[in-house]
């Protein structure tokens, strides 16, 4: 936050106000007492001019007179100070706190259902303005979070609609049949199985995605070499079955990534899974890692269909698919890369892609090292 000039603060203004008032009242009190004393001095000769009393007695009477006058004016001033101080203090503080009331009123008008509103405080750049601005910033973050969650729910429901529609329509059409055959029933079971599989895969991914969004305190140190070795080994069979060669190149030894092992594994798995899914027969997949400044860069390179340039930014969006029918055929849900991005960002890293259509793609996952 930027520093406000000291003369603009409410604190400074208050200081000036009460210093000026204090000095003013002080001067008034001192002046009035001095004046009262002066009056006694003027009065005295007249009182004692014809007096036959001895000088000592006159002096005592004069002193009494001074003390009396001093006491009277002191009390008078004290009373005046109480009244003026009370009334003045009240008005001064009210004047100074007026912006607080204004901000409170504005804030009250912004309810949870209407996070769009802002205080948008207009005024000098002081404590009040900073408070209002901070409040506005907080509202902004809240609105973003709500928006994000809304989007998520909408995406998820949209994606669940299709498998539900498939299941439901197949059941309802069979119900219209008077005497369905065993073959038709078997068909239905097959379709239902596929729809359920699709839904459970989707819900699983949504769960992981929402988990990746939550703050995690359970970060541990993960040895990059053994971590990557493990993940790549798991995909060996799948790559073989698809007539692809999957290789892990040299990984720098003794490098630790700080993170959540489960979600990091999910991220790397998704990249390798995509590389297998969108590869050509007889193609290869190369996993490598190298240190680049504060990051470990994990690269997954394939010899697949590649990604057109216009789609390269959007593939990390939820439910974005370059070729809808193809990707669905391959069992893609459009969530994999969104998950990778979320997980990378959550670990203080990022993910990027370089690709030339027809030749292949290289996905780079940047993760901070210990």
């Amino acid at each position: 936050m930027k520093q406000t000039a000291f003369y603009n603060t409410i604190g400074f203004k208050l200081t000036i106000w009460y210093t000026v008032l204090l000095v003013l009242f002080g001067v008034l009190i001192i002046a009035s007492i001095n004046l009262a004393m002066w009056q006694v001095r003027v009065d005295l000769p007249r009182r004692f001019i014809d007096s036959n009393q001895p000088p000592l007695e006159v002096a005592r009477l004069a002193a009494d007179r001074y003390v009396q006058q001093l006491r009277r004016y002191s009390l008078l001033n004290l009373g005046g100070l109480v009244i003026v101080g009370g009334v003045g203090g009240y008005f001064l503080s009210r004047q100074m706190l007026k912006p607080v009331d204004r901000v409170t009123m504005l804030a009250r008008n912004i309810s949870t259902s209407n996070l769009k509103g802002r205080i948008a405080y207009q005024g000098p750049d002081d404590e009040m303005k900073r408070l209002a601005d901070t409040f506005d910033e907080m509202l902004g973050r809240l609105e973003d979070a709500f928006e994000c969650q809304n989007q998520f729910i909408q995406d998820a429901s949209h994606e669940l609609r299709t498998p539900i529609a498939i299941a439901r329509t197949n059941i309802e059409v069979l119900e219209m049949e008077e005497k369905p055959t065993i073959k038709e029933y078997k068909n239905l079971v097959e379709v239902l199985k596929l729809s359920i599989e699709r839904m459970s895969k989707l819900s699983e991914k949504l769960l992981v995605l929402s988990k990746a969004e939550r703050e995690s305190d359970e970060y541990s140190d993960i040895d990059a070499a053994s971590f990557l070795g493990e993940v790549v080994t798991e995909f060996g069979t799948l790559a073989n079955n698809n007539d692809l060669s999957l290789r892990l190149l040299e990984v720098p030894k003794g490098v630790n990534i700080k993170g959540d092992a489960f979600s990091l594994k999910q991220a790397v798995s998704n990249l390798i899974d995509n590389a297998i899914r969108y590869n050509r027969a007889g193609g290869e997949i190369c996993v490598s890692a190298e240190l680049a400044g504060p990051h470990l860069v994990i690269r997954v390179a394939d010899t697949g269909i590649g990604i057109p340039e216009k789609d390269q930014q959007r593939i990390f969006e939820r439910f974005y698919r370059v070729d809808k029918s193809r990707s669905r055929l391959q069992g893609g849900s459009g969530l994999g890369l969104a998950m990778v991005k979320k997980i990378a960002e959550h670990h203080g890293g990022r993910v990027s892609v370089e690709s030339s259509p027809g030749e292949g793609s290289v996905f780079s996952l940047f993760l901070p090292v210990r």
Partner: protein
Amino acid sequence: MRILIVEDEKDLARAVAKGLGKQGYAVDVCFDGEESLFMLDVNQYDLVILDLNLPKVDGMDVCRRIRLANDSTGILMLTARSGADDRVKGLEEGADDYLVKPFYFPELLARLRAILRRKGEQRYAILRSGDLVVDPNNLNGYFKDVAVGFTVKEFAIVEYLMRNAGRIVSQEELLEHVWSEDANSLTQAVKVHIKNIRKKLLDAGGENIITTVKGKGYML
């Protein structure tokens, strides 16, 4: 009535096609937008059931192109896009109706019947011609409460003739609108069905209401 289903989810498309087939509709299925434009070019459809998220050519584009070609074929959008904005956009692009997935199959049937009703001459759900009453809801016809007992195909022919009553309908037109693409039927099949229909109408105690116009076709 002939219907084209454009839907890339094959399991859904097949189920809908089967369900509609049972209701006497001639149904063709295609799985992407490009193919649908080709099919629409080649065949005469009474209605298109159109998904929106389609490979190659988007459903909205298909709809727009149908309307730009001055084609008033009924369009029912069937999609997972449930937002009010999408519904408005779909209808404004020229769709006759919009149904969100997942849907209740009988509702889909009712909605497409409503569209076909609006497109045809007869706006009532139950069709009438003299003493013959035809009810699309149970695929049958009645002569003074005596059921005629049409087969699904016979019913489809009678329904098409009734919806176009007062106009000569050629055998080719019947083939176009009552048989689907893979049926591969000949005009001979139409003749046979018409003959059976006439016989059933007489058996039910009614009269022969289908007139043959020599060299041109049939008329009700």
